[in-house]
Structure formats: structure tokens, C-alpha cells
């Protein structure tokens, strides 16, 4: 059971950089027989059949994620948020692997009807002494005027493997906010593809990752701009310690006709060990003249002046570094909801920093 040729760079480059696609993900045998718990889902229409997803508009590599997850699916849901339904409380889908449920394949389709508003959280954890495996595919359709926030919280154990994919389409004057927290697992491939199809549609694709020990992470984020006057931002904050290896591919893709589109991508990486491997490929692809696109990437260790200042205020070096990493994550952490999940992430990051940084 192997997932290959995924997380492909939309426009490949030199092979020697080994960045054109992710290393194959080898699945682990097992099953997942738990009933999916959905909190605050009372107003939703939930179909328990395996969703059928039109993959014709998906990038090739993402189709592989879809096929792999579908074939082995242990959980499938279609969640419909009705027209003009506005949910105040986040809807939480909790996936927890344990000794008896070590391989989770979940295929979730979220259909946000016109004018609806909701926050959905997909939380993945494992409490097993054995290595667990997760492959997930989340398909988000945001129809005209809808506003959806999707938070993916990947907090698997250090021995687990993870392959998660999100695909979203955003309709006219609709907005999608996708926040991906890639905090755990030994090997992670994560991808997110958002197509801004409707005029005046908007997307924020945010990512937080922390890599420690021998962790390997490969991320592929993309926003495709189709509609006029669309706006999309990719913002990623990361910290790498120990022997971690991370590959971040992010793409802003202005399709011909996306007049008036604005796109921005930014990655900030703090490196906390001289053994980390940190690859970034921020692509800016453009087939339309009336656009504004920009990207910025910065990589480096924590600022010496900040470290010195904090240490002069009584913090140890380790504490000071932890505070700097936390501060770097803060703008994105503030978007995490509900509050207990935000606290959980904060504690997770503190724990990782305490043990490895």
C-alpha cells in the first residue's frame, strides 16, 4: 500500500533538488472502526455514505490522494451546511486513533450552500503504542456568498505517518479560510489546493508546522485564481529543530482572465538546529497581466537581539527561544478556534520546544 507521485510541484524544476514530488508514503495495515463524533453538528445535514467527488478539476497529484483514500476509506461523510445557515459554534470532527484503530482513511465532503457561514475543525490524534497511519481527503465546496473556516489539526504521535489533502472551490463573493496545523507524526505529506472560481472570491490558506527529531514533512499549498477581482493569501509559519526535514511548495497561480486578482504568499521559517534540512519553493505563476502577485520567504535562526533582550529579562536561552517561536506563530494561532484547541496547540508547541529545541 503505497501512495506515490503526490505533492508535485506544478511546474517541475531541476531533479537534483529532489523537490518535484514528495517521497512515497507507505501505508500501514490496520483499521478504524470508531464512530465519528461530530460536535455542534445539529443544524447540519450529514450523509454517512462515502462521498462521490468530481475529480475532473483536481490536479493530477491530488487525484492520487483522493483515489488512495477512497479505495481504503474507513470513514466517509458528506456534510451540508444549508443555505443561509450561520453557525456560531465550531463544528468539530474528532478522529482519534488507538491500539485497536491504527489506520484511518477519511473522505469528508463539505458543501457550504449559498450564504452559509461556519467553522469546521477536523482534529486528528493518536493514543496508540503502535505506529498509526492516516490518509485523509477533505473536499470543500464554498458556494456563492458563503464563508467557511476549515481548521485541520494534525496532532498525531511521533511514530505515526500522515498523508492529508484538502481541495476547495470557492464561488462568487464567497470566502474560504483554511488553517492547517501540521504538528505531529514522523512523516507527513500535506497538500491544500484552493480554486477561486467565482468573481470577488477570497481565500486565506494558513499553515503552521513544527518539525523536530527525525520528522519529515512535505507540504504543497496552492491557490488558483480564476475569477475576477479575487484575492488569496498563503501564509505559513514554521519552526524546525533537531534533524527535521521540511519541504514547502507554495504556488500562487493566476489563470488567464483573473483580471484584478491579488495574491500573496509568505513563509517564515525559524531554524533551531544546524542539522535541519529546509527546502522552500514559492512559485508565482502568471497568465494574466492585470494582477498583483508577490511572495516573500525568510529563513534564519531566532534574532540574536531578541534573544539577548529576553535573556536580560531573566529567561534562560531555551525559554527565550521558545518565546520567540511562539511569538512567530501568534498571528496564525489567534485564528485557531475553539479556544481549547488553541490552548492545545500552544501546549503542543511548548512541549516540542521544551524537549527538542
Amino acid at each position: 500500500m503505497k501512495l506515490t507521485h503526490i505533492n508535485q510541484l506544478q511546474m517541475p524544476t531541476w531533479r537534483w533538488l529532489k523537490i518535484n514530488e514528495a517521497e512515497p508514503v507507505v501505508g500501514l495495515a490496520g483499521n478504524y472502526n470508531k464512530t465519528l463524533q461530530i460536535q455542534n453538528g445539529e443544524k447540519l445535514q450529514i450523509d454517512h455514505q462515502l462521498p462521490v467527488i468530481d475529480d475532473s478539476q483536481l490536479p493530477k497529484d491530488l487525484r492520487r490522494n483522493l483515489v488512495f483514500t477512497s479505495k481504503n476509506a474507513s470513514v466517509g461523510r458528506t456534510i451540508t451546511i444549508g443555505e443561509n445557515i450561520k453557525l456560531k459554534e465550531p463544528v468539530i470532527l474528532d478522529f482519534e486513533m488507538d491500539d485497536k484503530n491504527t489506520a484511518l482513511f477519511d473522505l469528508i465532503r463539505i458543501n457550504a450552500k449559498t450564504g452559509s457561514e461556519a467553522t469546521l475543525v477536523l482534529r486528528y490524534t493518536s493514543k496508540s503504542k503502535r505506529s498509526c497511519f492516516h490518509s485523509g481527503f477533505t473536499y470543500l465546496e464554498v458556494e456563492a456568498g458563503a464563508k467557511i473556516k476549515l481548521i485541520m489539526a494534525q496532532m498525531l504521535s511521533p511514530a505515526d505517518r500522515n498523508a492529508g489533502a484538502v481541495a476547495a472551490t470557492v464561488g462568487e463573493a464567497a470566502a474560504a479560510e483554511v488553517l492547517l496545523g501540521e504538528l505531529g507524526s514522523a512523516q507527513t505529506t500535506g497538500s491544500c489546493n484552493i480554486e477561486l472560481e467565482g468573481n470577488l472570491s477570497h481565500a486565506d490558506l494558513d499553515g503552521i508546522y513544527i518539525g523536530t527529531g527525525e520528522q519529515k514533512q512535505d507540504f504543497n499549498y496552492r491557490i488558483g485564481f480564476h475569477g475576477k477581482d479575487t484575492e488569496g493569501n498563503i501564509t505559513v509559519k514554521g519552526a524546525l529543530a533537531g534533524n527535521a526535514k521540511k519541504v514547502m511548495k507554495s504556488t500562487i497561480d493566476f489563470i488567464t482572465g483573473a483580471s484584478g486578482a491579488k495574491g500573496r504568499e509568505e513563509e517564515t521559517v525559524l531554524t533551531l538546529s544546524d542539522r535541519v534540512i529546509n527546502l522552500s519553493a514559492p512559485l508565482l505563476l502568471c497568465g494574466e497581466d492585470n494582477v498583483e502577485g508577490e511572495h516573500a520567504t525568510s529563513t534564519g535562526k531566532p534574532d540574536e537581539a531578541k534573544l539577548y533582550y529576553l535573556m536580560s529579562r531573566g529567561f534562560s536561552e531555551k525559554e527565550a527561544r521558545r518565546l520567540i517561536v511562539e511569538a512567530s506563530f501568534t498571528p496564525l494561532m489567534r485564528k485557531v478556534e475553539p479556544q481549547p484547541l488553541q490552548e492545545e496547540w500552544r501546549e503542543w508547541i511548548q512541549g516540542v520546544m521544551h524537549s527538542d529545541a
Binding site: W14, T271, V276, S280, A281, L283, L285, D289
Partner: protein, 468 residues
């Protein structure tokens, strides 16, 4: 209000498109075979090691596939390319001895005039062979060597043997292998320790024969503490068959030396320009690449800096102008392989009328390259929606004491910039012209005045109406 596009004129090519009546004195058969490679080597009376190197390269070429990234090279049919064309001229250091039409070509291109006014030495290649080479006498006396590569192989064999194709290993990619197999012409430069060459050296490459390839090799060694500026120019008339350029440039920048390597490339639009350039920079050395890419049908060109000594430095400043039918895939690679190394990359591109400009780069910071710094800025101007502009940078960082910044922007000329300049008293046309000139200025300012003027002439700008 009707929106009128900003207009950027096509490059004026009439001078470059004049074809000469001079026919070759000799050329090999079309295609690439071992017999042809042996024939080229034998015609140059090369030592055995060079023939062996050519044959090894040929073997590599056959084994390797076309790149599976970048623009498609499927239209290249090596069976239709003539890899060696000897012009009807003997190498000379006197323009007067060259046949009239060959001399006329270089006169029209301004090479002989530039030699008098602003250059320390000139090499002029016509098809596969260098037909003119000279250097100022006072530089010769200081030990500066500037000769064609064939002469270098004969007269400086040990130096050439020790350095030739060492930075461009034939097993790296198909066109390095091709170059290694059929290279011909080019220049060899040696600047002795501590010598600073005050005016630039220039080599000009002219490909006149239709369906031919040009594979010149440039080998420059800047010894400790030396300094030189080398300028490379290229052009060819347009034919309705593909021409191929797969040159090779190897630059050795020894301790404390500085080498500026400037290229103004204006190949015709039937040219596949698949050049390989690499510099190895030792301790405290500096390589400066200045690159203007205007011509060719397809260009794949990424000058590479290997910063192998402590405090070594590289600068890359590039501009490309992609018009109808052009796919210009350009950029740079920098390998930081020693502590305290630094690099800056500044790239500008303009895409117009269906042209495709791609900026591609790789910055690799090795584990031992502690305290290294790299700054990348790339900007692209899109003149219409028929065109494309893509930015494909990769950074591979393998230690935690680095400082890397990367910024890129894409779009058209902003209304705000126009309004700002108009509020300072410029009229709209002046404002637009100033912005576009300013856009390419980082490259022009790095060139000697004569070449900056030439480049500005290459980009004739005509701006009318509102920006839209």
C-alpha cells in the same frame, strides 16, 4: 474610458538579421556520430586526451534524456543540426585580413569600433571558429593571456587539461554532454596574480550558417587578487530552420579575485539557446554575472556560482525580454559551500505579445556554509494576458546560521506609480517611460556605457495612452 495597453516595441533586429554571402570553407555532415566527433578533433589536431574527453561526452549525450522540466525541446532534431562549420577565414589579429562580408558583419555589430574605444581585447567567432583575436600589448606584457581556445589547447595544454570541463561535467545534463562532444571555438583568458585589467575583454559569437550549431567554450582563470570584466555578445540572422547554441563557460575565480561576466544575448528567434555557465569562487573571491537575454526561440540559461571558499561572494543581475514565440527560461544557481559566503540575485523580466518569461533559481546552503547570506529579488512585468511570466525559485538550506530573504513581484505598471510621478511634474508619457527604464536599470547600470546604450536601444520603448 477605453483602456489602451502600454506598448513596448519589439527589438529592432535589422542589423542582426543580415545574412552574409560568405559560405563555409568546410562543414561536417548533419547529425551527431562518433565519426563526426573524431573528424572535428582531427581537424583541430587535438591531443589524445581531448579526443577521449569528446568521446566520453558523446557517450553521455546518448545516454541522457531531454530535461523533463522547463520548455519543451521536442522540436530539436540533432539529425538536422550541423555541429561544425568552418568559415572561409583564417584566424587573425588584423580586421583587414578578414573577408569583406565577415568583417562587414562585425563592423555593423560595432565590435571593431568598440575595440578601439573601450576594450582591452576582442575575440570574434564566426560559426564554429574564432576568426579574430587580439589583446592590447601592455596587457600581454603583464602576463595576461587572451587567445582562442584552439590555440590554448595547443600552447597552454597543461592549464587547459587541468581545468577543461571540470566545472561542466558531461554527465550533468544532455547539453553539457553535447557541448563536451562537439565544442569548437571560444576563448581562453588567464589573468595573473594581482593584475587588474582596466578595460573589459569581449568575445562576440556570430552564427551565420542555417541549421548549424555553435558550441564555443570559454575558460577564464583569474589568479589571486586579479580583476577583469569579460563581455560576451551573441547574435545570428533569422532562418526558418532551427539553430542550436550550446556553449560552455567555465570561470575560476581564485582567492581575492574579482570577475565580472556580462552577456548581452540577442540570438535570432529560430535559435535554441541551451548554454551552460559555471563559476568556482575561492576564498574572498567575487563573481558578478550581468545577463541580458533578448533573443532566441527558447533559452534555458542558469549561470551557476559555486562559492567554495570562505567569504566568497556572487552577484547575479539579469533581465529578459520575451516576445512572441519566445520562451525564455532563465535564472541562476548558487551553491554556498563555505562559511561566510554571500550572494545576491536580482532578476527582471518583461513578457509581451505571447512571450513566456520564466525565472528559475536554486540557492543551496550546505551544512558547512555557516553564517552565509543570500538575498533574492525578482520582478516581472506582464504587458498583456497573451503572455506568461512564471517564477520558480527553490531554496535548500542545511544549517541554522543563515540569513535568507526572497522577494518576488509580478504585475503590470501600477497606476499609483504613474500618478506619483505625474504629481511631481512629469507628463504621463514621461512617467511611463521612466518607470520602464527604471525597471531594467539594475542591469544597464552594471554595463559599461557603450553597452548600456546598446541595451537601451535593444529595448525601444514606445508608450502611449493610459496604462491598462
Amino acid at each position: 474610458m477605453e483602456r489602451v495597453k502600454t506598448q513596448v516595441e519589439d527589438i529592432e533586429r535589422s542589423i542582426y538579421d543580415i545574412t552574409d554571402t560568405a559560405h563555409e570553407s568546410y562543414q561536417v555532415e548533419k547529425g551527431l556520430t562518433e565519426a563526426i566527433v573524431r573528424e572535428i578533433s582531427a581537424s583541430k589536431n587535438e591531443p589524445q586526451w581531448m579526443l577521449k574527453q569528446r568521446l566520453l561526452s558523446l557517450e553521455q549525450f546518448r545516454k541522457m534524456k531531454l530535461p523533463d522540466w522547463g520548455p519543451s525541446l521536442e522540436e530539436l532534431d540533432m539529425d538536422q543540426i550541423v555541429t561544425y562549420v568552418r568559415p572561409k577565414a583564417q584566424m587573425s589579429d588584423d580586421w583587414k585580413t578578414l573577408p569583406d562580408d565577415i568583417r562587414g558583419t562585425f563592423d555593423r555589430l560595432g565590435i571593431s569600433k568598440s575595440e578601439q574605444d573601450a576594450l582591452s581585447g576582442v575575440g570574434a567567432q564566426y560559426d564554429s571558429e574564432v576568426v579574430y583575436h587580439s589583446i592590447k600589448e601592455y596587457l600581454k606584457k603583464q602576463g595576461v593571456i587572451y587567445v582562442d581556445m584552439d590555440t590554448a589547447v595547443q600552447e597552454y595544454e597543461e592549464i587547459v587539461k587541468a581545468n577543461f570541463m571540470k566545472l561542466l561535467p558531461p554527465n550533468e545534463h544532455k547539453f553539457m554532454a553535447l557541448h563536451g562532444a562537439v565544442w569548437s571555438g571560444g576563448s581562453f583568458v588567464y589573468v595573473p596574480e594581482g593584475v587588474e585589467v582596466d578595460m573589459p575583454l569581449q568575445s562576440y559569437f556570430r552564427l551565420n550558417a542555417p541549421g548549424a550549431g555553435q558550441f564555443e567554450h570559454t575558460l577564464i582563470i583569474c589568479d589571486k587578487g586579479s580583476k577583469v570584466h569579460f563581455i560576451e555578445g551573441c547574435s545570428a540572422p533569422r532562418y526558418n530552420v532551427l539553430n542550436l547554441h550550446a556553449g560552455g563557460v567555465e570561470l575560476y575565480v581564485r582567492e581575492g579575485a574579482t570577475l565580472r561576466y556580462s552577456t548581452i544575448e540577442n540570438w535570432s528567434k529560430n535559435m535554441l539557446n541551451l548554454n551552460s555557465k559555471r563559476a568556482k569562487v575561492d576564498k574572498n573571491g567575487t563573481i558578478e554575472w550581468v545577463s541580458g537575454t533578448f533573443g532566441s526561440h527558447i533559452t534555458m540559461l542558469y549561470p551557476t556560482s559555486v562559492l567554495s571558499g570562505e567569504n566568497a561572494r556572487s552577484e547575479y543581475t539579469g533581465v529578459s525580454f520575451a516576445n512572441e514565440g519566445q520562451f525564455l527560461d532563465t535564472g541562476t544557481k548558487v551553491i554556498h559551500a563555505a562559511p561566510n559566503t554571500s550572494s545576491t540575485i536580482s532578476s527582471k523580466s518583461i513578457s509581451k505579445n505571447g512571450g513566456n518569461a520564466t525565472y528559475r533559481s536554486a540557492v543551496s546552503i550546505k551544512p558547512n556554509a555557516k553564517n552565509s547570506k543570500c538575498s533574492v529579488v525578482c520582478e516581472s512585468l506582464m504587458m498583456d494576458r497573451k503572455s506568461r511570466s512564471d517564477t520558480i525559485p527553490v531554496m535548500d538550506v542545511r544549517n541554522d546560521t543563515v540569513d535568507i530573504g526572497h522577494e518576488a513581484k509580478i504585475g503590470r505598471i501600477s497606476d499609483e506609480s504613474i500618478f506619483y510621478l505625474m504629481s511631481r511634474g512629469l507628463n504621463e508619457e514621461e512617467a511611463k517611460a521612466l518607470i520602464v527604464r527604471g525597471f531594467v536599470e539594475p542591469v544597464t547600470k552594471e554595463l559599461p556605457l557603450e553597452y548600456a546604450v546598446e541595451m537601451n536601444q535593444l529595448i525601444g520603448l514606445e508608450l502611449e495612452g493610459t496604462i491598462g
